[in-house]
């Protein structure tokens, strides 16, 4: 917080300060504090506290295993069905939580935005970080499942951080778009629950994407979460699951585009946030 003491700061109409990224670094502790606040606040006055972060994905997993694995008897590709489901529930819940949290984050912090300056990017980013912490906590279930079923993941599990990074980028990319749009058009407040609800069924959460007919798979991969979920399964379950590479790269490309345009659009509109929020 001391390096910019004697730097001249110039504020002008339409000027995108080169300072922005330096400011972002200067305010790095705010990422931590805002995420910390969100996590603290979320579980204040709850009896079982952060256990909620574990219970919700666990119940989702149980229901999906029963419906898709036991009742519909969909193929699992060799792995125990709960592991198949949970390796998808994990990234999906992360994405879904991050999306709904980020898109409302700016409006929820309207008083901050209209009264204090700091790089606005911090607000949606720390919402994603909050969701990421929950993601890590619910990861415990996956470990428990692996031990319970005495299922040994292959070497591919070391590539998991790469897929986590893609999930992160997808969440931030979509989140920034929706957050910025939501400031101006509150319609998005109503659209997001729909995206999350539909997304659960059009993404391969309860089933393996291998049951999608081959000719539709490329089209199916237009959903960026398809690539992420397939990647997670490929890394965790290994062996029997094969990844549909053209689809995966299409998903990856989309995530990169979303991420870059998300930041671009957010930066473009953030200067007017204080005026329109």
């Amino acid at each position: 917080m001391d390096d910019s003491n004697q730097k001249e700061l110039i504020i002008e109409a339409g000027r995108t300060e080169g300072q922005y990224w330096r400011d972002l670094y200067r305010y790095r502790e705010l990422f931590y504090f805002l995420s910390w606040r969100d996590i603290l606040v979320r579980y204040k006055q709850t009896v079982i506290g952060i256990a909620w972060a574990v219970i919700r994905p666990f119940l989702t997993m149980v229901v999906f295993t029963i419906v898709f694995g036991k009742l519909a008897k969909l193929p699992s590709g060799g792995a125990p069905y709960p592991i198949l489901v949970f390796s998808a529930v994990l990234p999906w819940q992360f994405f879904a939580n991050a999306l709904s949290e980020t898109s409302n984050s700016l409006i929820g912090n309207a008083n901050l935005i209209s009264k204090i300056y700091f790089p606005r990017l911090i607000i949606p980013a720390s919402s994603v970080i909050t969701s990421f912490v929950e993601f890590l906590i619910s990861g415990i279930i996956l470990v428990a499942l692996i031990i319970w079923y005495q299922f040994v993941p292959g070497w591919r599990v070391v590539t998991l951080p790469f897929f986590v990074a893609i999930a992160f980028a997808a969440s931030i990319g979509c989140g920034l778009w929706l957050a910025a749009l939501n400031v101006k058009y509150r319609d998005f407040r109503y659209i997001i629950p729909f995206i999350v609800q539909f997304g659960l069924f059009i993404s391969p959460v309860g089933f393996s994407s291998s049951i999608v007919p081959a000719k539709w798979r490329l089209l199916y991969s237009l959903n960026p979460m398809v690539g992420v979920i397939d990647g997670f399964r490929w890394a965790i379950i290994g062996g029997g699951t094969s990844i549909y590479w053209p689809g995966f790269f299409l998903s990856l490309l989309l995530v990169v585009i979303l991420f870059i345009t998300g930041i671009w659009y957010f930066r473009k509109t953030e200067k007017t946030f204080a005026d329109v929020i």
């Binding site: 504090f33 006055q45 009264k115």
Partner: protein, 418 residues
């Protein structure tokens, strides 16, 4: 001796205001609907450029062509009426919004205090909020750790550190919030009207803290309606009116100019009553130093003696007092002749607290009949300089009412303990 730390050149900020009061935000459906409408219109009329001007919108310059410089260590007061653009100026300086025109060059770390307690979360405890609020205001974690005890001492809330602030009394809340803000150590501090909080003792403490900050050689820009505070903190002052910087001079000169200007009178005009009773058809209110001048035009069909009663209310409409020409002493009744009579009279304001007042006027025949009643027909904002030697002016915001009661010391007697 010192260098320029803030240079503002031709600064301007424009807002679009919508006259039709709809929701505060744009809804996508409106944007889409308008796009379709204009597209449809273009198809029908085949005009290549049908004007996109919406009559319901109007440009509003919140600030226009403002230029000034501030040297390091200066304390500059900014005064002006509500809505003159003071807060907009601070928002531009602190980068909360972007200017439309002009430029600002700033050297040094800026902290702005537009409101105390921004970012306080009601669910978090006092301790947690100190850290959160500190970080939001731009302090580092180490800095907050270092000043933690000092902050708690200043706020006088050490017993409630681990209580969620939603259970705090509003006074405690504000004290804690201000304590965090007061321990910021920026090179440039921008302060909006934040001292109008807490009880009087705490206000005094805050003013003391501000003075101390000033003595440490930091640059302070200070917006306030409290002329006493401005005069004790700042040597130089900017006067902003309707978005323009109209005066930049010594505090004494600017405050005087401002007070003289406060005459911005409110005007009244109405039709005559149908029942033919005497009616106040027009009137003006003009604020002068120490008094308010009313000028009324009363129309009557016949010659009549009436009394003119004035009911004064504070900004909430609570009664403050009553004054009359004629109701108390019939000798002072006003003689109306057929046609219009102009009546002008003054009301002394030297005992009133600063703040907004609502004026109601009645034309009556005392104890017998009301001819005309005008409820809250005028309002004015009383702004006073402290009287000689005084540092502050009683304000309605204190919550002690709207009248300053003069106290006169008779004598003091020292009884020394042996």
């Amino acid at each position: 001796m010192s260098e320029t730390v803030i240079r503002v050149e031709n600064l301007g900020k424009k807002y679009l205001i919508r006259h039709q009061q709809r929701e505060r935000y744009t809804a996508l459906r409106d944007v889409l609907a308008n796009k379709f409408k204009s597209f449809g219109k273009r198809l029908i009329s085949l005009q290549p450029h049908s004007s996109n001007l919406q009559p319901s919108r109007e440009e509003f310059w919140a600030l226009k062509d403002v230029s000034f410089e501030v040297k390091q260590g200066d304390h500059v007061g900014i005064i002006g009426r509500n809505g003159a653009g003071k807060t907009t100026l601070l928002k531009l300086l602190s980068r909360i919004t972007e200017p439309i025109a002009g430029r600002i060059v700033i050297k040094g770390r800026v902290a702005s205090l537009l409101e105390v307690g921004t970012g306080f979360h009601p669910e978090l405890t006092g301790r947690e909020n100190i850290f959160l609020n500190g970080a939001i205001l731009g302090m580092s974690k180490a800095e907050i750790h270092r000043k933690f005890d000092e902050i708690v001492d200043f706020a006088e809330t050490s017993r409630f550190l681990d209580t969620p602030v939603k259970r705090y009394s509003s006074g405690m809340y504000v004290r804690l919030a201000f304590a965090v803000a007061a321990h910021l150590e920026p090179e440039i501090l921008l302060v909006d009207e934040v001292l109008a909080v807490g009880d009087v003792a705490f206000q005094k403490k805050c003013l003391g803290k501000m003075e101390k900050i000033g003595k440490e050689g930091r640059t302070v820009l200070f917006v306030s309606h409290n002329m006493g505070a401005i005069q004790s903190l700042c040597k130089r002052c900017l006067l902003i009116q309707k978005g323009n910087l109209v005066q930049d001079d010594s505090t004494q000169a600017v405050v005087e100019a401002y007070l003289d200007d406060s005459k911005a009178s409110s005007v009244l005009s109405r039709c005559q009553q149908e029942n033919g009773n005497p009616t106040i058809v027009s009137g003006t209110l003009e604020q002068k130093r120490g008094e308010v001048i009313f000028k009324l035009s009363i129309v009557s069909h016949e010659a009549k003696n009436v009394s003119i009663d004035l009911r004064l209310g504070d900004k909430l409409g609570n009664p403050v007092g009553f004054g009359s020409l004629g109701a108390l002493d019939p000798a002072h009744m006003i003689r109306l002749s057929p046609g219009a009579t102009i009546v002008s009279f003054s009301m002394a304001t030297s005992n009133l607290a600063s703040g907004v007042y609502l004026v109601s006027l009645d034309v009556t025949f005392p104890d017998v009949e009301f001819y005309d009643r005008l409820d809250r027909c005028f309002s004015f904002e009383l702004i006073r300089a402290p009287s000689k030697g005084a540092r502050r002016v009683v304000s309605q915001n204190w919550g002690y009412g709207a009248v300053e009661i003069p106290l006169t010391l008779i004598h003091t007697d020292q009884m020394n303990w042996i």
